[in-house]
């Protein structure tokens, strides 16, 4: 630290004369009564505005907080409005979207040729990656009895692109559909995907019923 007194000489004279007066012996500018008056007036205005501001915040808070509120809500997709545009996979604030595919087995036809599982023109009807519609191989296909196969979603692999949902809805029963998974969703103020959704399929649901499940044999956990 330099010696502060050395800097005294750096002031310019104009400042000197202007500034010296208020710093004369007394604590505060003893100058004209005018300046004393304006100080009080300014102080009065300031504290008046402050009081009004505090009152205003109080009133606004009361007004907004006292509003009739339902229970807290979470975001969810109404599967009946979804058109499987694919934006769910990319518009979420999370790196891997909170939207994933859900399967209502009770609605599923257990088709051998599942249009949610297979490419439109599969080379073979088997589990080869080249035949699958899912880009991450997130659907498991298991033989049950001829000609029925069971399909299940591997939740960790699903990216919510909705390709399988599109296939299933086009030609099948619509037992595959997209849902926001609430173990991952951070429940943003305004869901980022909801703003991009072309079908306005995003709704807010009560915390007690966080999923909009389809069909028979469904039970939200």
């Amino acid at each position: 630290m330099t010696d502060p007194s050395a800097n005294r000489e750096r002031r310019h004279p104009a400042e000197h004369s202007a500034v010296n007066e208020p710093h004369a012996p007394g604590r505060f500018p003893s100058g004209s009564p005018d300046s004393g008056l304006s100080l009080t007036r300014r102080e009065l205005l300031k504290s008046g505005t402050r009081g009004l501001g505090l009152l205003g915040f109080g009133a606004a808070t009361g007004f907004l907080a006292g509003r009739d509120r339902k229970a807290d809500t979470l975001w969810q997709i109404n599967p009946d409005r979804c058109i499987q545009c694919g934006r769910c996979a990319t518009a979420c604030v999370l790196e891997v979207s909170a939207v994933k595919c859900t399967h209502s087995h009770g609605m599923c036809g257990y088709c051998k040729l599942c249009t949610g599982y297979f490419e439109p023109e599969p080379i073979n009807l088997d589990e080869g990656a080249e035949n699958q519609l899912c880009p991450t191989g997130a659907i498991k296909r298991e033989f049950i009895e001829d000609p029925y196969y069971e399909y299940s979603i591997i939740n960790e692999l699903c990216i919510g692109c909705g390709k399988c949902v599109k296939g299933c809805n086009m030609f099948g029963n619509g037992s595959l559909y997209l849902q926001i998974n609430h173990d991952r969703c951070v429940n943003c103020n305004i869901c980022a995907i909801s703003l991009e959704c072309p079908a306005q399929a995003f709704v807010q649901v009560p915390v007690g019923q966080p999923y909009l499940l389809r069909g028979k044999g469904t039970a939200g956990k």
Binding site: V19, H23, D34, K46, G53, R67, P79, L125, Q179, P198
Partner: protein
């Protein structure tokens, strides 16, 4: 069709399916609504699994966040006004950055809460979450009493920029004044779009949230890292030149009861603190004029403002209305109406937008779309005008302050711009004396011998 040539039962069923679907589509049927085209089989020996969905995570964090915010604000106010400790503010910044930034991933944040409040006031059906109301109100109330304590070390956005500042460069005064208008534009646009329920731009274009989440679109990460790199040399660029909430905090802080002062004692104008503020928030003494001259100056100021305020309010109000109408397509209903109109006029670009596909698929109702868009347009226009007029008022008052700067006797932190970072304190020799550092004092004024 390729599958025709394959003579296999699967291919045949495939063709059948495609034909069926085509028929369904041609008949204008709803393909989506879970029609059981293939009856679910009745298994004798196989249990059909239930639909499994992951359980929601617990949502109790909200009130803990509010408690953390209140504690942080109290700590920041105490550190910047009573204990005057820069080290304390740095530690607080680190904690806030870790908790509100990286742990809570920047979500629930006071900056974004402005939009919820705007939407809540405009739309009586929207109940703003109580935690969000608390995040909006608490920092502002604190600013009315103790200055911008929130900015100093509670806001993760402020903290991340403040902590990386290594070599502050002074932004030229004129550029600083011009750039400080940008947060107002940001605020007005954000309120317009939030209150109409279109878009939350503060969140969408938040530069640092990508860093907090370690994820996000590429442009977000690039701007975030770029702004952070800039913050190494330009103090808090987001806070000063972008932050919409900072505008409100600055306004509240102007009327604060107590605010940080450079010196713990009385200023002797030794000028040692002159360059200590990296944020351009330290005012040099501006001697007040006395007597006749002072009265004349006051008159000139009133005349200037009386001319400027209505002029600017009218001009920007008109402009705001234009901006409001131009923003209509940012609302989903406005966008849909615009697209429907474009399609009817045949000026739609080649791939049909998904919005129209959804509109047709879900049962088009042209009338209600245009009715909604019409009502929306009125709201956009009215709100745009008001916000524009308010912006005009701000510009007029800013100009007034540039031509007639406030007088001050001492070196003092700017009442609106100071973010209570406490950096300037250690430049003051009296502060060093208070801390017990042996320095010889300047003799000016003769009060501290």
């Amino acid at each position: 069709m390729k599958s025709m040539v394959l003579i296999s039962p699967f291919a045949r069923s495939c063709v059948f399916l495609i034909a069926l679907a085509a028929l369904a589509l041609l008949a204008g049927m709803q393909p989506a609504l879970g029609i059981e085209r293939f009856p679910p089989p009745d298994f004798s020996g196989h249990a059909v699994p239930e639909t499994v969905v992951p359980a929601p995570q617990s949502r109790s964090a909200g009130w803990f966040d509010v408690a953390a915010l209140a504690a942080g604000l109290a700590a920041a106010a105490w550190l910047s006004l009573r204990s005057r400790s820069r080290r304390g503010i740095v530690i607080l910044s680190l904690v806030a950055l870790a908790y509100f930034g990286f742990w809570r991933r920047g979500c629930v944040c006071a900056i974004g809460s402005v939009q919820n409040i705007a939407l809540g006031i405009a739309n009586p059906d929207y109940a703003v979450p109580l935690t969000v109301i608390a995040f909006f109100t608490l920092p502002l109330v604190v600013a009315l009493i103790w200055g911008r304590a929130f900015c100093s070390g509670v806001c993760p956005h402020g903290a991340i920029q403040d902590l990386v500042l290594v070599k502050p460069v002074k932004v030229p005064g004129w550029l600083d004044e011009i750039l400080r208008v940008v947060p107002w534009i940001h605020l007005m646009l954000g309120v317009l779009l939030a209150a109409t329920g279109s878009l939350f731009i503060f969140c969408k274009f938040d530069p640092f949230v990508g860093i907090f989440r370690m994820a996000g679109p590429r442009w977000m990460l690039v701007t975030g890292v770029g702004l952070l790199a800039l913050s190494m040399f330009v103090g808090r660029p987001y806070c000063r030149y972008l932050c919409p909430y900072g505008v409100l905090l600055g306004l509240a802080s102007r009327f604060a009861k107590w605010r940080p002062t450079v010196t713990p004692d009385a200023c002797t104008q030794c000028r040692l603190c002159e360059n200590s503020c990296p944020f351009g928030a330290l005012n040099v003494p501006m001697p007040a004029q006395q007597g006749q001259e002072r009265i004349a100056r006051g008159r000139r100021r009133i005349v200037l403002l009386a001319l400027l305020v209505p002029l600017a309010a009218l001009l920007f109000g008109w402009l705001g209305g234009k901006v409001g109408i131009a923003s209509l397509p940012l609302h989903p209903d406005g966008r849909l109406a615009a697209l429907v109109l474009m399609q009817e006029r045949g000026v739609l670009p080649a791939p049909v937008p998904e919005e129209l596909t959804a509109f047709r698929q879900l049962g088009a109702d042209r009338q209600s779309v245009f009715l909604k868009a019409g009502a929306l347009e009125t709201r956009f226009f009215t709100l745009g005008c008001w916000l524009g007029a308010a912006f005009g008022l701000v510009i007029a008052l800013k100009l007034g302050r540039i031509f007639f700067p406030e007088s001050s006797v001492d070196y003092a932190t700017d009442s609106g711009r100071c973010v209570s970072c406490t950096r300037c304190f250690s430049a003051c020799p009296y502060e060093l004396v208070r801390r017990g550092v042996p320095v010889s004092l300047p003799q000016e004024g003769g009060r501290h011998d």
